[in-house]
């Protein structure tokens, strides 16, 4: 409607209160349970395997510029760099956006500094700005994977058609691949060539799971409660319609 009807106003107040209260609660330090994402539990095994075979690790940040998606990917990258630094393994990070290069460099250095291994690897040959043209980016990274015989390949963030080139190159090089992207269209290509694929909203959950940012975690939990309300509405509506065969009162109520 041009203006909110009564049911819509109730929904707006309900969902906003869920999200805002959960954000305030997590800001006050209330421990919030987030179920672990199955694809991310195996990150440690992937790094361990690559360390055993002494093959480098690559972390792709996708095509995001400064945005929520980039910060989620950087959170996971921080975790991976710290794990790799402990096993003194290099982490290559190809980049598609100039602004993302600056932020990634910061996270990369912090990771190695936290494990006391600052000077072990040179920033120039680990972090490289490839190009913001999709086909050039895909070809460049595919070549890099094959040349350096990457052992574990992580692909986080949003991707276009170049997702196919990365996934296929990694699969060819026999790398252990984990993909985590909110872009729904590239998931089929990741699904068939990666060992684990995490998609849709699980990408934001991954970001929240790793960097524990109260705003992101709180709003995720708030969204869950809102979705639960909608789920119950769907179940109730279908049951009501099955009982009163043709009188769809709940639909009439919602479409006042």
């Amino acid at each position: 409607m041009d203006h909110a009807t009564l049911p819509i106003i109730i929904f707006i107040l309900l969902f906003s209160s869920f999200i805002i209260t959960m954000i305030i609660l997590t800001k006050r330090g209330k421990e919030v349970f987030l179920r672990p994402i199955n694809g991310l539990k195996v990150i440690d095994d992937a790094i361990g395997r690559a360390a055993e075979e002494d093959r480098p690790i690559m972390f792709n940040l996708g095509f995001d510029d400064l945005s929520v998606n980039l910060f989620c990917s950087l959170a996971v990258m921080g975790y991976v760099v710290r794990k790799a630094a402990k096993l003194s393994m290099p982490v290559y990070v190809p980049l598609a956006q100039p602004l993302a290069y600056a932020m990634a460099e910061e996270f990369w250095k912090d990771g190695y500094a936290a494990m006391g291994k600052e000077g072990m690897f040179a920033v120039e040959d680990c972090l490289r700005y490839m190009s913001s043209n999709q086909s050039a980016l895909g070809a460049g990274i595919a070549g890099w994977i094959k040349r350096d015989h990457v052992g574990a390949n992580f692909m986080f963030g949003t991707y276009g058609f170049e997702s196919m080139m990365l996934a296929e190159a990694g699969q060819q090089a026999g790398a252990f691949q984990i993909a985590c992207t909110p872009s729904f269209y590239q998931v089929p290509f990741f699904m068939v060539s990666c060992d684990y694929t995490v998609f849709g909203e699980e990408f934001y959950a991954a970001g929240a799971y790793f960097n524990r940012d109260p705003v992101l975690t709180g709003s995720l939990v708030g969204q869950d409660y809102s979705k639960l309300v909608l789920l119950l509405l769907i179940v109730l509506g279908s049951l009501l319609l099955t009982i009163f065969q043709k009188h769809d009162y709940l639909r009439l109520l919602l479409q006042w």
């Binding site: 179920r35 070809a139 290509f189 869950d224 319609l241 919602l254």
Partner: protein, 277 residues
């Protein structure tokens, strides 16, 4: 191996050139070409053939990138970038800024000067303020006043956030009420339908509702990890998602193939005139 592939490519190039020359001869007197020239309102046959040749070369340049990045491709890529950027900026200059902003402001300014103006005229004159805000975008090139450029972004972001509620709930409510499905339609719900049709309709509705509910549960993060129902249904949800992803993959192929076929049709029909226009 290197030498043979070089010869192989030279042979291919020679064959293509012969076909192209033969195509030119055919183009001289083919009615389809004259019709095409009339459609595109081109002044002469030569310009049409030159245009077709340049278009064909640009396609070959793009496909040559598949094998190796080469200067031929890079030339046409920069030409494409120049044309695309130039065309959209020209359209913005003439059709948006000039005739949707300057012209109405000039007209209503004339009315205001002449004294006889309405409420709309004042509102249009006030749009000059929009131009001032628009110019703030260009402060991003100055280090000191970088934050000023963020004002224009904030106004757009604020408006986007404010309107997101309307866009979201206007889409969401029909989606929710659309999922209220009759799981076992009776004679009363579907008058005159035999039992078997009603049974199929009931199954279809049940599959639909179970699908939506189980995929919704799959995307729960905050609770339900130990609850058996949520664990079971999110497994079912994952099967539904597999099928949806399969449909996405199938349709992605359809689009890419039709783009390639359109290009091959252009090369074969308009350039080499080997297939019917």
């Amino acid at each position: 191996m290197q030498k043979t592939s070089k010869i192989f490519w030279l042979l291919i190039a020679a064959l293509v050139l012969i076909l192209a020359a033969w195509g030119e001869v055919k183009a001289m007197h083919s009615p389809a070409v004259t019709a095409r020239i009339a459609d595109l309102e081109l002044p002469s046959h030569f310009i049409y053939r030159l245009q077709t040749w340049v278009a064909a070369l640009s396609c070959i340049a793009v496909y040559s990138f598949l094998f190796k990045e080469n200067p031929f491709y890079r030339f046409f890529e920069h030409a494409l970038l120049g044309c695309a950027t130039g065309y959209s900026c020209a359209v913005v200059m003439r059709q948006n800024l000039y005739s949707q902003w300057l012209v109405p402001i000039k007209k209503s300014l004339m009315n205001v000067m002449a004294g006889s103006y309405t409420r709309e005229d004042i509102a249009t004159v006030a749009l000059i303020f929009a131009g001032v805000i628009g110019l703030l975008w260009y402060f991003q090139y100055s280090k000191k006043y970088f934050w000023v450029s963020r004002i224009a972004m904030c106004i757009s972001l604020g408006a986007g956030a404010g309107l997101a509620f309307k866009d979201t709930f206007n889409q969401l409510i029909p989606q929710i009420t659309g999922t209220f499905k009759n799981l076992c339609p009776s004679e009363y719900a579907m008058p005159g339908a035999p039992f078997i049709d009603r049974f199929y309709a009931g199954c279809e509705n049940a599959i639909f509702v179970i699908g939506t509910v189980s995929v919704l549960m799959y995307f729960f993060f905050a609770f339900g990890n130990k609850n058996a129902i949520v664990k079971g249904s999110s497994k079912i949800g994952r099967w539904y998602l597999m099928i949806a992803l399969g449909a996405f993959f199938g349709n992605t192929f359809m689009s890419r193939l039709s783009a390639l076929i359109e290009r091959v049709h252009f090369l074969m029909a308009e350039w080499l005139l080997m297939s019917q226009m």
